[in-house]
């Protein structure tokens, strides 16, 4: 017996070799795109997370903001100052610091709404795919109808409705959660459809029947056996939708129905700066815009790579 156990231990020690042997890991360390986009994403996320410590100024501390500093250009232009790396806005707030704080909200909304959407979508997909019949037909009809409308329209609509229901003052306070709700509710369909079609394939596989023969309850079969086998595509969708969710949040905020200017996201910053575009103070808009594009591009590159890496036929 001990012989067997020690053999098993020896196998465990080999995990390093196994990791090196893992196709996904191998593909990762051999793809400059994947590495660079991961690093960029991580840098922005860390910068956002530790904004209070990283940012040179606190743009929302009224005491430290001086109107005298308003509308300063970046340091390499005439009148710029090195204490404001990317210039200042109309109220004298440091654009660079505002971007760091703004990314916080953008990323927070992005992550929360993707988790929310994925949670709904995966459960609906699992249930619809496994139950089939009437349950499936109804759930998928709803999904079909919703899918015919662009997510942004659904999000706008939900947002508009919630505005109508909630009193104005309260709305600003919970704007972030309203956004998460609207974006999440408009994004769940894709997970549901993907998971459902995977479940319908998995369901017919013999390992599921083997579990039934053992006598396992449906719940166990669904979550312990089938779910792990359908999560691969979910990861890919989640990555790509994280980028989309961040864009959607920025768009809603830009349209003036998202995060209020008191605690601005990247989209809100762009909206505010847009008014100064024509008078020549381009940096107030362009730098937050650039930050947004870099973040989204990095996530998209990662998602694109992940999709190809998980689908060996495309290689």
């Amino acid at each position: 017996m001990s012989e067997v156990e020690s053999a098993i231990d020896a196998d465990l020690i080999g995990w390093r070799a196994r990791l090196a042997d893992n196709d996904l890991f191998h593909a990762f360390i051999h793809s400059p795109t994947a590495i660079v986009s991961t690093i960029v994403t991580l840098l922005i996320c860390l910068g956002a997370l530790f904004a209070p410590w990283v940012a040179p100024h606190d743009p929302f501390d009224l005491a430290s903001v001086d109107l005298m500093d308003s509308l300063l250009p970046p340091p390499w232009m005439d009148g710029g100052s090195f204490s404001f790396l990317l210039g200042t806005d109309d109220q004298g707030r440091d654009v660079f610091s505002a971007i760091l704080y703004g990314s916080r909200i953008s990323i927070l909304v992005g992550f929360l709404s993707v988790i929310f959407a994925a949670a709904i979508g995966v459960v609906v997909g699992l249930v619809a795919g496994y139950a089939g019949g009437l349950v499936d037909a109804i759930l998928m009809r709803i999904a079909d109808v919703q899918l015919s409308f662009p997510a942004i329209l659904i999000a706008l609509l939900i947002d508009g409705v919630l505005r109508g229901i909630l009193p104005r003052g309260d709305y600003d306070q919970i704007a972030v959660y309203v956004l998460v709700l609207s974006i999440g509710l408009s994004f769940w369909v894709q997970y549901a459809r993907t998971v459902r079609s995977s479940v319908m394939i998995e369901r017919t596989k013999e390992y599921v029947q083997a579990s039934q023969v053992i006598g396992l309850p449906t719940r166990t079969i669904l979550f312990r056996h089938i779910m792990p086998n359908v999560l691969g595509p979910v990861l890919v969708i989640a990555t790509i939708q994280l980028a989309l969710a961040i864009i959607t949040e920025a768009t809603l905020s830009f349209l003036g129905v998202g995060v209020p200017p008191t605690s601005p996201s990247l989209g809100t910053l762009i909206r505010v700066g847009n008014d100064y575009l024509f008078s020549g103070e381009w940096w107030i808009t362009i730098f937050p815009g650039l930050a947004l594009v870099i973040l989204v591009l990095a996530i998209n590159l990662l998602g694109d790579w992940l999709r190809d890496a998980l689908n060996p036929r495309l290689r």
Binding site: S148, L153, L157, T251, F254, G256, L297
Partner: protein, 323 residues
């Protein structure tokens, strides 16, 4: 075929009824319609009277049926904010949105489809990789940012193109067209590009992915084994088979251009339905929101029907029953 179309038509009606239900629920239960219509100084009696006249005391089903009946004739009531009939507001703005969407859709298709085909056929080519990188940047650029960048470069710095509005329009019956004047056309360029880029990149990626799938199919391998010319294989066989599954999605993409116009219209202050809708949301102008929702749903339903009929033209498996 007739049966199939009729079945689809029935489904479409069902979809419209569901959307109407949502629109009605919005109208009836989000805020109080009476409060939104009258001023502060209206007496309780007057309110009750209005409530009775609007039929708000009737049963849910009766109100819903009445809502549908009115919607079918285009009557969505009055805008709370503008105090004008909603149908007139929409009709006035429809041409602007339609022209913008049409031009964008044509641009997205004419550029997107060939690029998708090219990148699928020359997967490893330098130009293909360039296209794919561009398309990735394309989907990473939020539409409103594209608009802002265009405005900054061509409007503010170079001063070549107008940055807002439709320019001069020509009245043709109730339709207003900006396609016939110089200023109308030059006003259209930037919004149309802005709107087209996102859809175009999606189309490129969609066509590429689907075509790569088709190129791996057995019948393509067999066509190669028969020594058919690459042109025949790529275009007569592969492209045709690619178009079947992507038709639906491309149809929906084109449809979604009308909805995405909301953003573009907002950036360029384009006087279309999208701008009206966004203002309605900011002011909780429910009748306008409900009508807009119904209109968009209607457009999508029509596109879906058209695509379904197209399937019959392209796919013999649907046309010929059984074996």
């Amino acid at each position: 075929m007739l049966l199939f179309v009729l079945k689809r038509l029935a489904q479409s009606v069902l979809v419209m009824l569901v959307v109407a239900l949502i629109a009605f629920a919005l109208f009836r239960y989000v805020g109080d319609p009476v409060d939104s219509m009258v001023g502060q100084d209206t007496t309780l009696e007057q309110r009750a009277d209005l409530r009775e006249r609007l039929g708000l005391n009737d049963s849910f089903l009766v109100q819903y049926a009445r809502f549908i009946g009115r919607a079918a004739t285009g009557d969505f009531g009055q805008s709370y904010r503008l105090r004008q009939p909603v149908d007139e507001l929409l009709a006035e703005r429809f041409p602007a949105t339609f022209e913008l969407s049409l031009v964008s859709a044509v641009m997205a298709l004419l550029i997107g489809v060939p690029m998708g085909v090219y990148t699928a056929l020359n997967r490893r080519g330098l130009l293909s990789r360039g296209f794919m990188t561009l398309s990735l940047i394309g989907i990473s650029l939020p539409t409103f940012l594209i608009g802002i960048l265009l405005i900054l470069v061509f409007g503010v710095v170079l001063r070549w193109l107008p940055t807002f509005g439709r320019g001069d329009v020509v009245q043709v019956g109730w339709w207003t067209s900006g396609l016939m004047t110089r200023s109308g056309l030059s006003s259209l360029i930037m919004p149309a590009i802005t709107l087209a880029i996102f859809q175009m990149t999606l189309i490129v990626r969609l066509i590429r992915a689907e075509m790569l799938e088709v190129l791996r199919a057995d019948y393509v391998k067999f066509a190669r084994a028969r020594g058919l010319k690459p042109r025949t294989i790529n275009f007569s066989i592969a492209l045709k088979n690619t178009l079947v599954p992507v038709m639906t999605i491309i149809g929906l993409q084109i449809g979604s251009i009308i909805a995405f116009a909301i953003i573009t219209e907002s950036v360029f202050q384009w006087p279309g339905m999208g701008l009206l809708f966004i203002q309605a949301i900011e002011n909780v102008d429910i009748p306008v929101m409900a009508a807009y929702l119904m209109l968009i749903a209607f457009i999508f339903v029509v596109i879906n029907l058209v695509v379904d009929v197209l399937y019959f033209v392209v796919d013999p498996r649907l046309r010929v029953q059984g074996r």
